[in-house]
């Protein structure tokens, strides 16, 4: 362990005075900013005149927190190099970390499968688990487009909506079962993915992001305004619940509980939904992992790295981009169909831009292209959001601060490296500093 002090001293240390100076500047900025926002509280009095009072204690506490926090952040940055843990940590720490990295995915999977057993009586935990897994699946789906192919898609929720409405309309109008509609929802969403892909193929970077953003909004507006088909803002209700491969999960005589000879409980359906979304998410994951090792997946990553070089190698970048859009959209469609069957009611309100932003945040926070990272990020974001419920009105503030801190330490996401898809001798992780984020 002699390497530990050596490696920390090796990095340039501008000294405590520098940290103090930085903290003082931050505190001063905070003072200027908050003196009016926090320091003085104004309100309209009972007769309409202005009353105001000062809150210097709160102001002082906040400025103090900024001062202290700035020092803490600086010190933490000393210990953890800004880009990835690998560089700052001594060699002796590297091996346990590698081991942890390899042990986490199976442990997470086992834990996920055991959640309904452990928390059988806690409906809240089960519902939260389903929500987290839905976002894990959406994150994995968007990861194909953003993380692998490097195409910034801000309208991913559109495919989620297409999937949800496909299932809702097909099942309520034609009485098709969930298992028939699931592939149809995926295919329809993929079709819309290709449809979106065509006009945006020529666009890159920011322009692509803007058009996909608009596409997401267009789908939502069409759903709101096409009253005769979609029910407009009222949405679609009484969407059939999923059946256990044809056997309904109802208290009736032909229900699953009656057939198995056990007492009916509404929790059965929740547990079934939990395993259903787990299976769907795992399918997404499995397909993505397989695709990465196939030429199409490698072409996606190559496209993210350098589009011009791809074309020089004879890769049709048009179809490559379209397949990325279609694949990502298909998984979004599956997730949408699941969402519709779980809720039993859908309306355009569920498919706002905020959802797209949240899924994108999951992908970026997880580390672009990393499957494990996306899963962890979904857990952190959705679970953390629930965890901070106790903070009440400060929830968003605490949450935002946690995000900022995370991004300072891990600017490339929670998992800051990519695993090669093929290797000769040993699979060694590649730092994300080398990988490009894609320009469209």
């Amino acid at each position: 362990m002699t390497t530990t002090p050596a490696s920390t001293q090796a990095s340039p240390l501008p000294g405590f005075a520098f940290i103090l100076k930085k903290a003082l500047i931050s505190a001063f900025v905070a003072l200027v900013l908050f003196s009016l926002m926090i320091g003085i509280r104004t309100e309209a009095g009972p007769t309409g005149h202005l009353i105001y009072w000062t809150r210097f204690n709160d102001l002082a506490a906040l400025v103090g927190a900024v001062f202290g926090g700035s020092i803490v952040v600086e010190l933490l940055r000393r210990w953890w190099a800004p880009s990835g843990i690998g560089k700052a940590l001594p060699q002796s720490m590297q091996r346990p970390l590698d081991f942890a990295g390899r042990a986490i995915p199976p442990l997470l999977l086992i834990f996920t499968l055991l959640v309904p057993v452990i928390f059988y009586n806690q409906r809240y935990i089960l519902d939260l688990g389903i929500l987290v897994l839905t976002y894990v699946m959406l994150g994995w789906g968007l990861n194909v487009v953003v993380g692998l192919a490097g195409l910034l898609d801000l309208g991913y929720v559109a495919f989620y909506a297409v999937g949800a409405y496909s299932y809702a309309l097909l099942s309520t109008t034609f009485g098709l079962s969930f298992w028939t509609c699931l592939p149809l929802a995926g295919i329809l969403a993929a079709f819309w993915g290709v449809l979106l892909g065509f006009p945006v193929l020529r666009l890159r970077g920011d322009y692509l992001a803007i058009v996909t953003l608009a596409f997401g909004e267009i789908i939502r507006l069409v759903i709101i305004n096409w009253q005769s088909l979609t029910g407009g803002p009222n949405g679609i209700s009484a969407i059939p619940r999923p059946s256990f491969f044809g056997i309904p999960l109802t208290p009736g005589d032909d229900g699953l509980a009656a057939r198995l000879g056990i007492e009916f409980s509404p929790t059965h359906r929740i547990v079934f939904l939990f395993y259903l979304i787990t299976a769907l998410a795992l399918l997404t994951n499995w397909v993505t992992i397989r695709l990465r090792r196939l030429p199409i997946g490698r072409a996606w990553e190559a496209l993210r790295e350098d589009e011009v070089a791809c074309r020089a190698l004879g890769i049709n970048t048009t179809t490559t981009k379209l397949t990325a859009f279609a694949t990502g959209a298909m998984f979004g469609g599956f997730a949408g169909a699941f969402f519709a069957t779980r809720q039993g009611f859908i309306s355009p309100e569920s498919f706002t831009f905020q959802e797209s932003a949240l899924v994108l945040a999951i992908v970026v926070l997880g580390g672009m292209g990393s499957q494990l990272g996306v899963a962890l990020a979904a857990l952190t974001l959705i679970g953390g959001f629930e965890l901070f419920r106790g903070f009440d009105q400060y929830r968003m503030l605490v949450f935002g601060m946690a995000m900022v801190l995370l991004m300072i330490w891990r600017p490339r996401g929670l998992i800051g490296h990519r695993a090669p898809t093929v290797f000769l001798k040993h699979r060694q992780a590649i730092s994300s500093d080398l990988a490009r984020e894609g320009r469209g």
Partner: protein, 277 residues
């Protein structure tokens, strides 16, 4: 020798607005030979390259690629990726364009995309792990391994391409282009930034590509030692037009070429040459 031509460029013209980058250029490259395209900075060499490889659409003129069996491909009518795929023209770039976040091996695997795509049954056979796909993948890895061995990078196969030293990146880019199994290999300044030892190794690599693989090479180069040593035919350009062509020695002694490189006019150059023994 007219039936042993691989690339025939006729009256090529490329305009960017009012600027004529290439003006009525005609030349040919012979099969299984190294043809060098040289000229001072801004002579239009890279523009010619971009026309040949389809990155630019020429304003006028024809570029024909004649395959071994006599099949003729009109390059000026094809898109960039179709030129690489159908006409079997591969290229490298002046400023290296590898996939920096992918390993050296992965870079060479991406180059075999089209063959692998067919073998994987447009992904569907690959997804279920069909034996046909497994065999094709193994074959592709073997091919990549052979090339890594040729350029001396087998030990670093699993390293990120962006982490390799500059000279290795240059050679890896050539190997990646060769993995597409091209008929014509276009190299844009492959020796730029290499030291004397590295450019000597590069010369050997290019000669072996010509002799062992029978691949024709079209080369832009500033490093005259490389050009003079390995090229069979040299085309000299200045201000978008061809000013000389021939075997390396003849070109080197051409007063027009010396004038173009020294920036003097022709008469002065002749005077300089005559005064030196």
């Amino acid at each position: 020798m007219s039936d042993d031509i691989i690339l025939q460029v006729d009256h090529l013209m490329m305009r960017f607005g009012g600027v004529v980058a290439v003006n009525d250029l005609s030349f040919q490259a012979e099969r299984r030979r190294i043809t060098a395209l040289i000229g001072p900075n801004g002579a239009g060499k890279t523009t010619v390259f971009n026309c040949v490889t389809g990155f630019y659409k020429p304003s006028s003129g024809t570029i024909r690629l004649i395959h071994d069996g006599g099949r003729i491909v009109q390059l000026e009518r094809l898109n960039d990726f179709r030129i690489a795929r159908q006409a079997k023209v591969a290229r490298t770039f002046q400023n290296i364009r590898l996939f920096p976040g992918m390993t050296a091996l992965e870079n060479l695997m991406v180059a075999q995309h089209n063959a692998l795509m067919r073998a994987s049954g447009l992904t569907f056979l690959g997804l279920i792990g069909a034996p046909m796909w497994r065999a094709a993948e193994k074959h592709a890895i073997d091919q990549a391994k052979r090339w890594l061995e040729r350029i001396g990078l087998l030990e670093r196969a699993d390293d990120a391409a962006g982490n390799l030293p500059y000279g290795d990146q240059r050679r890896l880019e050539i190997a990646r282009a060769m993995c597409t199994e091209p008929a014509l290999l276009c190299l844009d300044e492959p020796a730029a930034g290499l030291n004397a030892r590295e450019s000597a190794a590069l010369s050997q690599l290019l000669l072996s590509i010509r002799d062992d693989h029978g691949t024709s090479i079209l080369l832009i180069e500033h490093d005259m030692s490389v050009v003079m040593e390995i090229s069979d035919h040299v085309v000299v350009m200045d201000y978008g037009v061809k000013i000389a062509e021939g075997v390396p020695k003849a070109v080197r002694d051409d007063p027009k070429v010396i004038a173009a490189y020294l920036g003097a006019d022709e008469q002065e150059a002749i005077a300089v040459m005559e005064s030196t023994p």
